[in-house]
Symmetry: none
Subunit: 225 residues, 4 copies
DNA sequence: AATGAATGAGAGTTCATTCAT
DNA sequence: TATGAATGAACTCTCATTCAT
């Protein structure tokens, strides 16, 4: 395994005579590879994914993947970091500043549902990571250092609400985070088997929206003092 | 080789009267293969798992796997069905008959946590199934036909409690099931990455018990009228 | 490779109390194996044939094949010898004694066509033998010693006809045999590809009979003085 | 690696003007594989042939066979088509234009002998095809579409001779083709067992030439009015 | 006489990766 | 920057054969 690649594709050899064109192509290829890699790794994991397949989906020569990313594992790591970064960026977009605790908490719970829907590769990547010991997440400085703003927001909002007397006391913010995230995560992660077992379509837009509503109201009820 | 869950339900003892039918050895080997297969498939999925590894862990000749199970995918399917059957058997052990709705519901929620802990292969198998389209779950008559008693118990208990005025109205039992199961599932499924991200050990006995308590109280609070 | 088995199945362990029954069963199994083996080896050759398949078709336990015939190659040799013996027996049935040379020759040519039709395994076995160097035919004392009465009959009939002035002089009996046999052999051996290439059904009864007629008249015309 | 029959008809030489397209090496490897494959498949058939052996004989890495030909069966199909094409090319070289019917027919019969001698792989491949149901010949568009010019030449020559009164009436050209081809085919196909059975060397140059003479004179005599 | 269990050798094929340009 | 050619290692699976009863 070679050294890992930089997260943001850094163009090389830009010449004065040909200032940007080839960089754009290069970035296109790189981006196409990453996009294909995310989907492929999410669906099949590190070992299940096929370099050939990624190249085919990205529409590039297989060798280009090695040129840009070193090897399969480095590509995986990069894809993982890119997705985590994307998640964090989404989280940073949350602004609950002047909301009341209850309103803010409802927004947070809703958000924990929405971003899973918006980032479908995330669940697959995470599941495979956990199945294989989460070594890449643990070993990635980039991922470890990108703290989740969500948990801090949640802790702050929880404590605001507790002080305001609208939320119960004695709730651990990490445990709250896990249970709230779990309600949404499990829904998206296991929709297929759940649909099959319950003979009920959980993939329709209506079902998704109904479940979102349930999660928010159920969790809010669980919090109230 | 110990047989923890024999494939054929009634192993016959070899006796003088029944001299040639050696189910014992055969079942031992079969059971050892299945046990190893469950763990291997749970950790690595269908494609990631290695037949060699399963044979080595089971302590049998690799070819015996093909002799008994045909091929890798059939072994996978069988392992999946065995685990599902085991889950269903656990669920059938639940007897809430004469409990009050709240007591019964708390038992149910606790159980949804406990059986995931007791059947560690289940989450891995399910995650891989969902990642690959859940085709094996959908195609298995055995799995589809084994309805979950849990969802029916939940629906019945919910309705009992609603009528008794202790639970809120308007809660859908399937959605309740998904959210309750999700709280526990996500905890076990994503413990590794969660521990890493939050820099907090979620694997200790204490942490597990604490989270179980949280899940039950949080869900019960969410239900109360 | 073990020693070869006797051609005619020799029953063992006949007891006074149970004089014939088990022998019949044993012979049944042996005969079933041989029948299946002939077809399988004819279709797929020594290496292409599958012991499993032979056992399945014969309806016996695979191990019984080893019990009776030692190993795959010995079974092959035995099948080869049985078919050769069958051919020779058919040939011995030819009685041209008091026929005129032309009549006798026509009968011989017709026979060279008929016995290929009657013994479909023969061509397949022979083709595979030739493709693999004919070592088994060469090494089988049984086959080498079973001279073909056909070639002698042909030589005698040819010489009778030549002396009688009805056949041309200077025809070598072996070459005549090869060319006459070849006309029929090729027809049966290559019917499938010939049908495909010429887009003409050579498998129908009518086509077979028409070709037989052609062979006889064509060969007789080629012989006439 | 020598390229005796390149797959792609027009290998381009690598030149300064055309610097990167290296058909030469690629074709060499491809051609070497095909050459080895023809011989191996001819001798042992599709199932009997060994990919390892083909690679070893061709002097290439085994995996290159998969790189170029996909799998064993596709390689077989390709080899079959190449041999058929070669046969057809040989046939196309026949020019009987201004010969008299008898002379032309003798040339045709002689040719049907000569090309089997010149293309030793052909008989083996054809025998295995027929033994296995001729499915590949039937399924190959390339083979089906490459009509045999031979049969048309034969039909034309036969009809010319019949009109000229030198050949008998009532001879079917396809049947004539089959019997004439059969005489030669059987000789080459079954030389080994025939030599063994008749204890007569049919492999010597003299024996081959003598048999060729026999075939031509025997068939011509069979045709004459 | 008959059979289920078990195994070693090797087959076809896949796959990540490197070579060479 | 980009690509076709080539390879070693490993994987699933097949198959003839043996073991043990």
């Amino acid at each position: 395994m070679k050294s890992s690649q930089p997260l943001t594709p850094t163009p090389r050899r830009r010449s004065a005579a040909n200032p940007g064109i080839s960089d754009i192509d290069s970035n296109d290829a790189k981006a196409a590879i990453l996009k294909a890699a995310r989907a492929e790794f999410s669906a099949k994991g590190l070992t299940g994914a096929r370099v050939n397949e990624i190249a085919a989906i990205a529409g590039v020569n297989k060798q280009l993947i090695y040129y840009y990313f070193g090897n399969k594992e480095d590509l995986y790591r990069t894809a993982l970091e890119v997705v985590y970064t994307e998640i964090r960026t989404l989280e940073s977009g949350l602004h609950l500043g002047d909301m009341q605790p209850e309103e803010a908490m409802a927004a947070l719970i809703g958000f924990s549902f929405d971003y899973l829907q918006a980032t479908p590769d995330f669940i697959g990547l995470l599941n495979h990571e956990n199945a294989r010991g989460a070594s890449h997440v643990r070993d990635s400085k980039a991922i470890r250092e990108t703290n989740s703003p969500l948990i801090e927001l949640l802790a702050k909002t929880l404590s605001r609400g507790t002080r305001a007397g609208v939320f119960r006391r004695g709730i651990d913010p990490v445990e709250l985070y896990v249970s709230v995230a779990g309600m949404s995560y499990f829904f998206f992660s296991n929709r297929l088997t759940l649909s099959s077992i319950f003979a009920r379509d959980l993939e329709s837009k209506a079902a998704v929206q109904a479940y979102r509503k349930h999660v928010v109201s159920f969790a809010m009820a669980g919090l109230r003092a």
